[in-house]
Symmetry: C2
Subunit: 235 residues, 2 copies
């Protein structure tokens, strides 16, 4: 039913027997944000798991897959994580943390105009999803493979970020700077356009990271009927 109406990356290319599975992401190499996890074997495990979980899914990845890619025995992973579940939980937690930090950081250098605040949030939202597409996909798709206990830390962070967005929207509407057809659906729309970035955007393509963020800011302002010069019409 869906057809996201975006390209899909099924490897129907020249490659071998062609009975390969599709790859979920356009970006090749999975990158974990530099300072989010200290160097060492634990970080290597998380990086490899990020690559696998993003492309094959949590249930589609075996501990032996990870071990082979790490050039380790499967049992060696258990010196660093108590279970496969905990590896995913840590990725999901780190992902939420990185995202929430980006949103908070974007707001601190900004005046208290709701329009400027929305621009900052949308820009950060887009940049994070475009810069760390694997992490974004794992956080958004694979969190459902976690038990409630293991997902809880991430969900707590998520609730805060949601509150941040809704607060700005609320205030913008109250001040008459925004005009939305429906609050919940519009908030979902602002979120959605960022969340889907990993599935189509290629940083090496025509659109630079900055330009992508600019486009998303523009589209968001249009959805809110918000105009940046405080007096009148037109961007």
């Amino acid at each position: 039913m869906p057809i996201p109406l975006t390209e899909t990356n099924v490897r129907s290319d020249n490659r071998a027997m062609s009975s390969l599975r599709a790859s979920r992401l356009r970006a090749a190499k999975a990158i974990l944000p530099p300072s989010s996890v200290p160097d060492g074997t634990r970080r290597r495990i998380l990086e490899v798991a990020l690559q696998f979980f993003a492309n094959e899914g949590f249930h589609g990845t075996s501990v032996r897959d990870l071990a082979k890619a790490l050039d380790l025995q499967p049992s060696a992973l258990y010196a660093h994580f108590p279970s496969k579940d905990h590896v995913l939980a840590e990725l999901v937690r780190v992902g939420h943390e990185v995202h929430a930090s980006a949103l908070r950081a974007a707001l601190i250098g900004v005046c208290d105009d709701p329009i400027e605040q929305i621009c900052a949030l949308v820009r950060a939202h887009a940049l994070v999803h475009a810069t760390y597409p694997h992490l974004a996909v794992v956080v958004n798709e694979e969190i459902y493979a976690l038990t409630a206990e293991l997902a809880a830390p991430a969900l707590a962070i998520r609730a805060q970020s949601m509150a941040l967005l809704h607060g700005v929207l609320e205030r913008g509407v109250a001040m008459g700077r925004f005009s939305l057809p429906d609050k919940a659906a519009t908030a979902a729309a602002l979120s959605a356009i960022g969340v889907r970035i990993p599935y189509w955007y290629e940083p090496s393509g025509a659109l630079s990271l900055d330009a992508l963020a600019d486009v998303h800011v523009e589209l968001s302002l249009r959805m809110l009927r918000a105009y940046r010069s405080p007096d009148g019409k037109k961007v």
Copy 2:
């Protein structure tokens, strides 16, 4: 990193031991479009598989899970499908078919004004995702679990639907009816807001299906700077 900035449905509720897995969808019951598959055991299998694949994922669902829910032996499924893969492939194909049919049907009763055409497409896109959320999720998330061969029929349909959207956008821009910051990103945005519907929308909530579609049409027109009355400003 992501935080879709929408609610998540992790069952942290009262339930038992609480070490349950999260459920991906807000809607409880999985519905397969009535006329898309004839009645019989084959349809029952697809319906149960739709429920499981949407909530637990393809790799998170075993053939025994399906058999138990169907009150059958695992081996009985192989009288109807040659493999577990083929069950998913059929769901993905049907889903794409339903979506593409909805898009095509939406266009036939409409004049050749790009604005009216975009409204029809966006409305159909939203309605299909809101009406059949399980199918939408399986098509968009689990297609990556298929081999290139099995995904091919669905991908062919997807390419057509993409062409439909891009064609209307292209023509609208050429005629000066649309003004977009970036064609690829805007097309992706139009698609994204529909694709994310299953993750937050509840048909039983405040927003009716029709109202949801109206909101999406409005948001889309804003993103395109398209105004419905052919002469001037304002919706």
